[in-house]
């Protein structure tokens, strides 16, 4: 079944075509990677999907419903969750509070829940999310004090606490140490048992290991799409992306 489908999706900033006519189809349960050189429009693309930016043209369908006109928060409530590329956890709040904000969002359904919620319910979800990313010991620490890699994990925990159907991870392994990366791959695989994952990633070994399909972008358009094996062989991709990567 198709979870997400964009057609003719475009975003221009003045004269710059950041995203041009993108058709993206993601079936439920898949791990999809989007790769491409810097400035290819990957982050812009997922910002359009998550509602941080408004598209210049095109449509976005999520579970069959056109969501292009919905504000970001309404998309989150429908299950599209975005984790930031530049970590933007609440640095002054504890890890607990960071995740609690996400966890309580799901529980606040009526006016009464806004004023009163059993904190034990929130706490249970917070603990679960923190333990999934391995941050249980840091519960009471201020998020700003965490090392960078742990802030990224906290960011993911916030995403998990929202119980997403589509989890968008924007450069999640950036700044992680090598041993942290393999743990992270396991985590993403575990997440994908319950949610569809859209992964923007620079680290090709992570992409090749996790993704079922890879979408390659360059200069705002999709230039190739295929399985990891196909993408590795694709000459155009090598020229546009892998080649420059190898040279660097």
């Amino acid at each position: 079944m198709t979870l997400l489908e964009t057609s003719g999706l475009s975003k221009r900033f003045g004269g710059l075509r950041a995203v041009e006519d993108v058709e993206l189809v993601i079936p439920t349960g898949e791990i999809r990677a989007v790769i491409g050189p810097n400035g290819a429009g990957k982050t812009t693309l997922v910002s359009l999907v998550s509602g941080r930016l408004e598209p210049t043209a095109g449509s976005i369908r999520f579970k069959g419903e056109d969501i292009a006109g919905l504000r970001a928060w309404d998309r989150v409530r429908r299950g599209i969750v975005y984790t930031f590329q530049v970590t933007s956890v609440y640095a002054n709040l504890t890890c607990y509070e960071n995740v609690a904000l996400a966890a309580q969002r799901r529980m606040m359904k009526g006016p009464r829940d806004r004023l009163m919620l059993a904190e034990s319910r929130v706490a249970r979800d917070v603990e679960r999310a923190l333990s999934r990313v391995g941050l249980t010991d840091e519960t009471r620490r201020r998020a700003g004090e965490l090392p960078y890699g742990h802030q990224r994990l906290l960011e993911v925990a916030m995403g998990l606490a929202l119980d997403p159907e589509l989890l968008i991870l924007d450069e999640p392994t950036q700044g992680l140490a090598l041993d942290e990366i393999s743990g992270f791959c396991d985590l993403v695989r575990a997440i994908s048992e319950r949610a569809t994952v859209l992964l923007i990633e620079h680290n090709m070994s992570v992409v090749l290991e996790l993704a079922q399909l890879i979408t390659v972008m360059d200069k705002g358009t999709v230039i190739a799409e295929g399985t990891p094996a196909e993408i590795e062989r694709n000459p155009e991709v090598q020229r546009a992306y892998l080649g420059t990567d190898a040279a660097a």
Partner: protein, 320 residues
């Protein structure tokens, strides 16, 4: 949140209210009256603090909400012969209604724009109290003690000129506002307010319609401010344009900053301290408001977290 900590917080804050309750039996008449005034203004500051301290929105227009309470309560007493409870209700309702209308218009502006818009609307409101001086009597104002009937509660007749009535009515208002603020700070909505203060864009991406929450914060803040205005009009039986002037927008900012924004006890401490500082200075010089200026500059330069904020940072991290 941890039960033990919550018990401690509750004990501390109820203790403060109990202290205020007991204090009236030991204070000289002079301090007795002062403290009644301080508690009303501290209520004003507590309301202001919900918006500035917990939600991170700096308003320079809260005088209009205070004045909405003052006029909303005072005018019906003077013209329609309302009793105190009805007048208090109309006062609170006026500030609530004003906050909703104003909020719907301005809540999309942020930062400096929000500040200037609040300043501008409040100024328009101030000018309006002068413009309609046939009703409000403008600067000169109206004394309502002649028309305000005493309150009968269970056979007892309460005269608003009685200092004990003043003190305990002010205390009741403050205690209720204090507990309401505490409940909000510990509620899910309060958690979202803090999230907006810390990072609004992130909060949107957690699925919160931040405009709605900011509107809620503004409305709660304005209504508490309006309640203090209504109580002030009833207890000190005077309504006038001065309550809508820019001074009354700056004072709650000052009180909140001195006490420590984003702390529950801060507004009370800040109001008390500044009240007495201005009071002492006014005995020394005609230019007593200079302490307001010096305090604001000193706060910004040396003491940005205020009294309670500093105490929280250094010694008592569990303070709300």
């Amino acid at each position: 949140m941890n039960r033990r900590i919550f018990a401690r917080v509750l004990a501390l804050h109820l203790g403060v209210v109990a202290l205020l309750l007991v204090a009236q039996f030991f204070l000289s008449p002079y301090h007795h009256t002062n403290l009644a005034r301080i508690m009303i203004f501290a209520t004003f500051a507590s309301g202001y603090n919900i918006l500035l301290g917990y939600t991170g929105l700096l308003s320079l227009g809260h005088a209009m909400f205070f004045a909405a309470g003052v006029y909303g309560a005072g005018l019906p007493v003077f013209y329609l012969g309302f009793g105190a409870p009805e007048a208090f209700a109309t006062g609170v309702a006026s500030s609530f209604a004003l906050a909703i209308v104003f909020g719907l218009i301005v809540i999309r502006t942020g930062g400096v724009s929000f500040l200037i818009v609040t300043l501008m609307f409040a100024q328009a409101a101030f000018l309006a109290t002068l413009y309609f001086n046939e009703i409000t009597l403008g600067d000169q104002g109206i004394v309502i003690s002649q028309t305000l009937p005493p309150l009968e509660v269970g056979g007892a007749v309460l005269e608003f000129s009685d200092p004990d009535v003043k003190y305990n009515a002010a205390l009741l208002l403050f205690a209720v506002a204090f507990l309401v603020c505490m409940a909000i700070v510990y509620s899910p909505i309060g958690r979202v307010f803090v999230a907006i203060r810390e990072n609004e864009a992130r909060t949107r991406m957690l699925g919160y319609n931040t405009y709605k929450y900011k509107l809620a914060s503004l409305t709660i803040s304005a209504t508490i401010s309006g309640a203090s205005g209504a109580m002030y009009a009833l207890l000190f039986s005077y309504i006038g344009s001065t309550f809508a002037s820019i001074e009354y927008s700056i004072f709650p900012l000052l009180w909140t900053l001195v006490g420590g924004m984003g702390t529950l006890l801060g507004p009370l401490l800040g109001t008390g301290l500044m009240f007495y500082l201005v009071d002492i200075a006014s005995g020394l010089t005609e230019s007593h408001l200079i302490v307001v200026g010096i305090a604001l500059v000193a706060l910004v330069l040396y003491f940005p977290k205020g009294l309670m904020g500093t105490i929280r940072e250094k010694w008592l991290p569990w303070l709300p």
